[in-house]
Subunit: 746 residues, 2 copies
Amino acid sequence: MNERAIVYRKMNGFSDDWGTAVNVQAMVFGNMGDECATGVAFTRNPATGEHIFFGEYLINAQGEDVVAGIRTPQQITLAGSRKWAEDHNVSEEDRKAKYPSLEEYMPEVYENLCNIYKKLELHYHDMQDIEFTIENRKLWMLQTRNGKRTAAAAVRIAVEMVDEGLISKDDAIMRVTPDQINQLLHPQFIKEEKKKASLFTKGLPASPGAATGQIVFDADDAAAWRAEGKGTILVRLETSPEDITGMVAANGILTGRGGMTSHAAVVARGMGKCCVSGAGELVIDAAAKTVAVKGTVLKEGDWISIDGGTGEVLLGKVATEEPKLDGDFETLMRWADNRRVLKIRTNADTPKDAATARRFGAEGIGLCRTEHMFFEGERIKAIREMILADDLEGRKTALAKLIEHQKNDFLGIFEEMRGLPVTVRLLDPPLHEFLPSEPKQITEMAEAMHTSEEKIYKKIAELHEINPMLGFRGCRLGNIYPEITEMQTRAIVEATCELTQKGVKVFPEIMIPLVGKHEEFEYQEKIVRETAEKVFAEKGINVEFMVGTMIEVPRGALTADEIAEHAEFFSFGTNDLTQMCLGYSRDDAGKFIKDYLAKKILAVDPFQSIDQDGVGQLVEIAAKRGRKTRPNIKLGVCGEHGGDPASIDFFHRCGLNYVSCSPYRVPIARLAAAQAAINNDVVREIKQTVEDAYSKAESAAKDAYSKAESGLKNLKETLENSEELKKGVEGAKKLFGDIKNKFKKD
Amino acid sequence: MNERAIVYRKMNGFSDDWGTAVNVQAMVFGNMGDECATGVAFTRNPATGEHIFFGEYLINAQGEDVVAGIRTPQQITLAGSRKWAEDHNVSEEDRKAKYPSLEEYMPEVYENLCNIYKKLELHYHDMQDIEFTIENRKLWMLQTRNGKRTAAAAVRIAVEMVDEGLISKDDAIMRVTPDQINQLLHPQFIKEEKKKASLFTKGLPASPGAATGQIVFDADDAAAWRAEGKGTILVRLETSPEDITGMVAANGILTGRGGMTSHAAVVARGMGKCCVSGAGELVIDAAAKTVAVKGTVLKEGDWISIDGGTGEVLLGKVATEEPKLDGDFETLMRWADNRRVLKIRTNADTPKDAATARRFGAEGIGLCRTEHMFFEGERIKAIREMILADDLEGRKTALAKLIEHQKNDFLGIFEEMRGLPVTVRLLDPPLHEFLPSEPKQITEMAEAMHTSEEKIYKKIAELHEINPMLGFRGCRLGNIYPEITEMQTRAIVEATCELTQKGVKVFPEIMIPLVGKHEEFEYQEKIVRETAEKVFAEKGINVEFMVGTMIEVPRGALTADEIAEHAEFFSFGTNDLTQMCLGYSRDDAGKFIKDYLAKKILAVDPFQSIDQDGVGQLVEIAAKRGRKTRPNIKLGVCGEHGGDPASIDFFHRCGLNYVSCSPYRVPIARLAAAQAAINNDVVREIKQTVEDAYSKAESAAKDAYSKAESGLKNLKETLENSEELKKGVEGAKKLFGDIKNKFKKD
C-alpha cells in the first residue's frame, strides 16, 4: 500500500483489492567474481520490434545493478556490442578489452542462453523479457515474462509473428492495445524545425516519440507543474519506482545514467512516454536545480525537447507534426478492419477534419455540428441579427443571410466525404451562446449591428437560464422557430442536389437533436420533408436522404419504439445521456467526480467510459425498442464514448451499426472494434455450440421419429393381419365406448 | 373555433379535435303572451345542495332572457318566492301581485313540473338542471342535464343521496371532483375583520367563497392585471360568454343584474370562483370606469371584497381564514379513507405545517426538508461559517452550532406527528443557495462573520455552477462532507431517543437524496448507522429508524434493484425525475412548455401531472426492481405530483404505498386516492373474472383428467383379464422387439 505501488496500480487499472503474492526462493549470485554475471534481455528489440536478440549484462554484478542503471552495462550479442561501440566512439580494441559481449566473454553460456530464449518465445508465442544470472559460468534463469514494448514494436512484432506462423491474425489484433495505437499517432518533431534547433546532448533512444517541456528536477515538481497546466521534461540522474507519479505527469523523461533496460526506459516505454536515457554528458545538480553540458547551463523552467526515437536532446521548443504510419501498421489495421463488425465514423464539422478522418479510415461522418459554422466572420452577425429579431419576418431576413454560407460548408464536407454517409445535426446549443458576455464586446456588437446596447442586454437577460443544459436548446429551438430548421434543411438539400447533378454521390442524414417525445420529432420531420420537396421542385431533381434523431434524453430512450415510427436512424448522444441519466453536469461535476473516484463510489469517470450499468441500460432499451418498431433502423453513437475502447466493446455487444469519434481516434476505434468482435466471439462460439447441439438433436429426433413411424406402420399391418388381435382391439374399443358414455353421464 | 369556445374547452380540458354536434328541432314559444313563460330550475339547490326544488321563471319570455339576467326572474316555488320577497323588502301583497311564484301563477303546470323533475332525478340518480317553456299553459321540457354545483353542494348532495338510497358510497365518492375539494378549502373572511368592514351593497350569493381584489370593468383588463400579478374583482352589469377569459383571471365576479342562474352565477360556480350577482343598487359606468352606490363612488383599481356565501360587497380589503369543514365533508372523506389503498402523507418542514396537515388527515410526513431550517436567524450564520471553513475542523465547529437548533426542530415536528412516520431528507440544495448574491448583503455578511468580502466573493465564485441542478448537491454533499450527515443524523436520532424516553412514539425515516448509484447510498448509510449507534450508547436507549433514499435520478430508478439491497424505502422525487428524464429545467422550461402545449407537442405540463409514458416508466421500473430485491420495501412519492389527481391514479396503479403532498392538498389527495381505487377496481374486476374463469377451467380439467385416469385403469384391468388380448400384446411386443433390433442394426 505504499505510494509507488498505488500509483502503479492506478496507472495500469489494477484494483487495490487484488492483493500481492510473495515468492520465497533460493538465491544465486552474479557478484562472486569475474566468472559471474547478470543480465536482462529481450527476445526481440522492445523499442523497434526488430527480430534480433537484444540485451545487456554486467560482469560480477547483481541483477538490480543492471536495472537501476548504476553501471553502464555491456551488450550480450557481438553485433549489438559493435554497434554500441560505434555509437559511443569506442575502438574495437577497447571494446574487446573493456566491454566484450557475452557472446565473446562466455560463448558457451551465450549459446545456452540463445537456446533458452528461443524455446521461451516459442512456448509463450510472445516476445519475452528475461532476467538471468551466471554463477561461476552456470546460467540461471531468474524470470521470464511477456516483454513491455513500444507501440511501434508491438505492431511490428504482432505482424511478424503472424508471418512466422507463431500466432493468428486475431492474436495479432489482440496484442496491440488501443492505447498503443494512440501512441503511434502522437506527433513527431517536424524535420526542418528540428534541424534549426541546437543539440544540447545525446542519450539512448529509450522510448520513441517527441516531447517538449520545461525542465524540472523532481518528480513531485513534475506533478505540481502539470496541475498548473505546464508541460515538463523530468531530468534525473536515474529514476526509481518512487518517481512514477512524476513520470506520468511529465511530457518526457531524460536521464543521465542507465541503459535501454533501465527503470526509466522500461517504465517510459510501458507508458508510451518519450524517454532519452543514459545521456552521460549531463551534469545534474538537483539541489541547485541546474543541468549542464560542457558549460551550457540550463535551469529549472528552461525549455528543452527530446527525441525518444534518436536519443537527441535539443535546446528550446521544437514544433511537432503527425507521424507517418508504416506498412506493419497498415497491415494490422487491414486485419482489424476485416475482423470488426462496427463501422467507424468521425465527428467533423469542416472539410479539413473530414479529410483527416478519411485518411485515418473513417467510413462516414457520424456528427457534423452545424453551430460551429455560425461563429465565423459574417455569420455570427447574421445569427445575432436573428436572435435579436422581434418577429418572424426579422428572423427570416437574418436567416436568409446565412443560407449561402451553410450551403457552401455542406458542399465542401459532402464532396470530401463523397460516397460515404454524413450525419448533419440541426442547430443544438442554447442561443445565448451566440451572444457576447463582456461589456466591451456588447458595445462593439451594438455598434456593428446599429442597435442599442440596452436591447442586447435585455436579450441576454431574456435568454439567461439557470440550467442551460436542460433549457431552450436542441429541437426545442427548431420547434419554436421552424424557420431555422427550414433554412438548415434548405442548405443541406440544395448542396446535395447540386453535387448529385455534378455526379458526386452524397448520402446526407439529417439529425434532429434532443428529442424526448415522438411529437417533437414528427414536428421537425414534417418541416424537413416539406422543405426538401420544395427544393426538389426548384432544382428539378429528387435525392435520397434520411431523417433521424439523437437519443440523448432519457425519455427519448424509454420511448424509442414510438420515435422509431418516424425516425430512420438513432445516434446515441451518450454525453448528454450521461449528464441526464446520472444527473451530472459535465461542466460542474469534475469536483465531486474526482472525490467519488478517490472514495471508490465511482469506479471510472462516466464521461470517459460509458456507465454500462446505468446509461448503458438506456442504450440497450432504445436499441431494442427502436429495432422492434423498425427492424432495419440504423444505430450509431456520436460523442466522446465513441472513441473509448471499453465503451466500443459495449456498443459492439449492443449490436449498434457504428461509432463515431474525433478524427485522431478513428484508428484506435478501428482496432478496438476488432478486439470487441474477437472478445465477443467467445460468446458467439458458445451460442453456436448450443445451436449446433440443438440442430443435431433435432435431426436425430426427426430421424428417430421417421424410423418409429415406419416401424409402427409395419406393426399396424401385422396387427391388421392377426385375427386374435382384431378381436382384442374390438373388445378394447367397446370398453372405450363404455367409458366415454360413463363420462358423458357424469 | 371562436375564442370563447376555445377558452371554454381549455378550461375544461377538452381537446379541440373532438368536434361539436348540431341539433335541429321544432320550436315552442314562451313569449306569446301571459299564458306563456319560460324557466330554469335545479332539482336541488346548486349553491348549498339543500334538498329543495329551486328555480326561476319569467312570464312571456324566451329562455335566454332568464339565463342572460336581463329581467329579474320570479321564483318557481312559493317558499322560494317568499324568501326572495323578504330578502328584497317586497311586501307579500306586492309579491303576489307583481312577482307571484309559478306554484301560485299556474298551479297545474307547477304540479306537472314537480312530477317531471322528481322522475328525472330518480332516473339519472343525480341533481338535474332543467330548462322548460310554457306555451299557452302547456309545459315543454327543453333540456335536462346533471346540474353544475358548488363544491359544498356537491358534497352535500352526494352524501344525502347515499342516505336516500339513490346512489352507493362509491358513486358519492366519484361525484365530487378533487378540484371541488380544493374549492372547499379556499379561505373565508375572518368574521371579526369582516365586521369592521363597511358594507358597499348586497347582491345574490351566487358562488360561495371570499374574494378581495382591485376593481376592473373589463374582462381583458382582468386578464392583463393578472398577468402583472394583480388580483382583481371583475365588476359588470352582466357577463356573457365573451368574458370567460377575464372571469378565469379575476379573483371574484360582481354583477349588477341577473339571478342565481345567470351566466355569471352558473359559470362562476363551475369554476369554483367567488361570485355575487344581481346587486341591483350598483350604478356602473364602464366607460368612466366607476361604480357607485348611493353617492359612494369607487373607481378602477379601488379595493373591494365580496362574500359569495352571503352576497355582501364590502369596501376595502378584508382578511381571510381557512374554512370550517362540515359534517357532510367529514362523512364523504371517511368513506374515501375507507375506500382508498394509498396512504396520504404531507410535505412539512415545521411543527405548524405538520399540525395543519394532520388536521387535514395526513398519515405521516413524506418529506421534511432540513435545509429550510437553516435559513433562520443564527442558523444561516452557522451554515455560512461551515461553507467558508477551510478544513474539516472549521466545518465541524460550525456544524456544532447547528445541531441544537436542528434537534429542537425535530423534537417539535416528531411530537406533532407522534405515532406517525416522518421522512427526514438530509441536506439537499447546492451550498451556494446559503450565500447572499447582492453586494450589500455580502458586505453585511462579511461584517457579521468577521471575515473579508474577498473571501466570500471567492467562495461564491468557487461554488458557482453552470447547471446547479446537475451539480454539487444531494447526497454528493454528504459524501464529500460526511460531517454534515453526521450532524444531521445526530440531531434526528437524539430527538428520537429523547422523545421515546418521554413515551412519545416516533418513527423517523432518514432519507438520502439524489442517489444514482448504490455505492452512494451505502456510503451515506454507513455514516448514518454508525452515528446512530454512538447516540444510542450515549443515551442508553435503542430506537428503531429506517434509512432509505429518494429515487429522483434516472440512474437510481434503473438500478433500483441494487439500491434496494440496502435502502429500506424509496421516495420518488418526481420533480427532479421529470427534470432529468425529460431534460427540462423547471426554472427555465416554462417558455417552451407553453409553446409546446399550444402546438400540442405536449398534452399536459409534465410538472403539473406526471408524464406517465416517460417518467412513469422509470417509476414502474424502480418499483418493480426495488420490490424484486426487497419485497416489503416501502414506496412513496414526494413532490408536487403527489397532490395531482391524475398522477395519484397512476401511482395507485403502480402499487405504491403512499403519496405525500402539501398540507392543503391532503384532502384532495385523500379523495383522489379513493377515486383511483374505485376506477381501477374495474381493472381488478376484469382480472378477477379472468382468474375465476381460469381456475374453473383448471378444476374442470383436473376433474376430466382424474375421470380419464380411472377409465384407463378400468380399461387396463379389463385388458389384463382378456386372454386374447394378452396374446395380441405379446405378439406386438415381439414385433416391437424386432423393430428395435432392426433400428440398432441401422
